[in-house]
Subunit: 297 residues, 2 copies
């Protein structure tokens, strides 16, 4: 089997001409397949998803950063989502026959090249972080583009590549390796968002709940429904079924049930297989030898 | 993505030297990967599992039939499992980027060649059958090797290739295309096999239960447990979760519950993903665009 790495850069623009130019650069990189682009106008932000072999993914990520630096000017940028750079974050995710260490090494090469070739200073984050306080993207991004020139003067916030002068229009960028992330929402049989909020607070890691789970309550206007909106940062540590069952029994104390769930975007098959194994009660099951697709070359 | 077909020939021998010779022939066929061999001494029978591109699978199946015809003599064969040929049955299963029609066409080419090159008359069965009464393997095999010389004289039982003279030591063979089969067992919280039997009778298609489900009650000596032993011949028509929930509510009338389930051998990922989707309550989910592995080339 060939090595496959996924990358999901976020750029600070929802302009379709810019997104199309960046998509074209990714599409034309040998060894890389563009899977998806998704733009949010109110966030003024787009997510570009691609997969490929390590060398191809490296080239596509660096090329994408160069185009973003040329086309996107953060001095004129507004949008609801926090951001610090024209290309805001470049995650690398091991998919097949690739270790997290290989993705960390790739992120360092890409970080060096983004500084050398696009002139954007780089913070390494998540599994690639050079210190624990730099693992979390939100901590790095705090202060956003407008505060970054001041922030990088602090001793603990010098970028990993490029020194203390931010790019005048493209800011800085976070580059790093991380596990696949699953965006998973659970809709409740109530429109009372305070219930979704209370459930979110007890299931998420920061509230002492489940490891590798971020959650918040959201009101869905179009369905008049309260939703627990979840990011699962490591589905191997905390499987999907555990989140569903946890939400189910917490919701029960408010007389509320789960009416449906939603997976936004891509999900690795293993995350679904693990939940099937739990619910079907399969004993002594070994996905790597028994699931046909793992055996295909 | 490359086309992949699976084949699971059953041969009428558990002799390790013969199985090794046949495995070697499959292994050395270009474009084919041998996944598994499994021999049962009391059945005096082995199952050879391999996958590959259509041309490779064709070559491997014909080569395997030639070796089986040379090494296995049914005139001296005893075993618990019904059988009619040295190579008893050769199923072809569409796995990836291949239609059932392509597998039917492959089975016809292989059938012609097994007659031409190994001298074994061939019945086409399942999706490849030339008449409805020849779809079911058990109907074709009825009478077994010892009765086959008589049986092929009947107007409705002339083989599709090779005419009415069976191979003197290798008998006849069934060749055909079929959907993937899942061997799925459900263990009950009782050692009373009559309960497993009653459940099996109501869930199986022949008892008016679920489509594409075969089932029988079995007593597992080593666990002192009653088991519903199930063959699922089309998991797209009847998904795994439906069998589990059906058994669960039928078992409840005897005060019995499910203590665990078991998948024997290989299972396609889609069968597990469909059940995860059901139990997790995922709405508007499209595995072909949302499951990462479907998107990898």
């Amino acid at each position: 089997m060939a090595k496959i790495i996924e990358s999901v850069p976020n750029i600070s623009s929802a302009d379709s001409a810019i997104v199309e130019e960046i998509a074209g650069v990714v599409r034309s990189t040998p060894g890389v397949t563009l899977l998806n682009t998704s733009s949010d106008a109110s966030h003024n932000r787009s997510v570009i998803t691609f997969v490929g072999d390590p060398a191809g993914v490296e080239e596509a990520a660096v090329s994408l950063a160069k185009v973003a630096a040329r086309c996107i000017d953060l001095t004129h940028h507004t949008g609801e989502h926090p951001r610090m750079g024209a290309v805001d974050v470049v995650p690398f995710i091991p998919i097949r026959e690739v270790s997290m260490d290989e993705c960390v090494a790739l992120s360092r090469r890409v970080g060096e090249r983004i500084w050398a070739e696009a002139g954007i200073p780089v913070f390494l984050y998540e599994a690639s972080a050079s210190a624990p306080h730099r693992e979390n993207l939100a901590s790095i991004r705090k202060g956003q583009f407008e505060g970054m020139e001041q922030k990088v003067q602090q001793p603990e916030w010098e970028p990993d590549f490029g020194g203390r002068t931010i790019h005048p229009t493209a800011g800085v960028v976070a580059v790093g390796a991380r596990a696949p992330l699953i965006a998973f929402n659970i809709n409740l049989s109530t429109n009372d968002v305070s219930i979704a909020d209370k459930i979110a607070r007890v299931i998420r890691q920061s509230g002492g709940g489940l490891n590798c789970v971020k959650a918040m309550g959201v009101y869905l206007k179009e369905r008049d429904t309260a939703q627990v909106s979840i990011n699962m940062t490591n589905y191997c540590q905390t499987p999907l079924y555990r989140v569903v069952e946890f939400v189910r029994f917490e919701a029960a104390r408010y007389g509320v049930s789960i009416v449906g769930t939603e997976i936004v975007g891509l999900v690795p098959m293993r995350a679904l297989i693990d939940s099937a194994e739990y619910y079907l009660g399969i004993e002594q099951f070994d996905p790597e030898t028994q699931v046909l697709e793992y055996r295909l070359s």
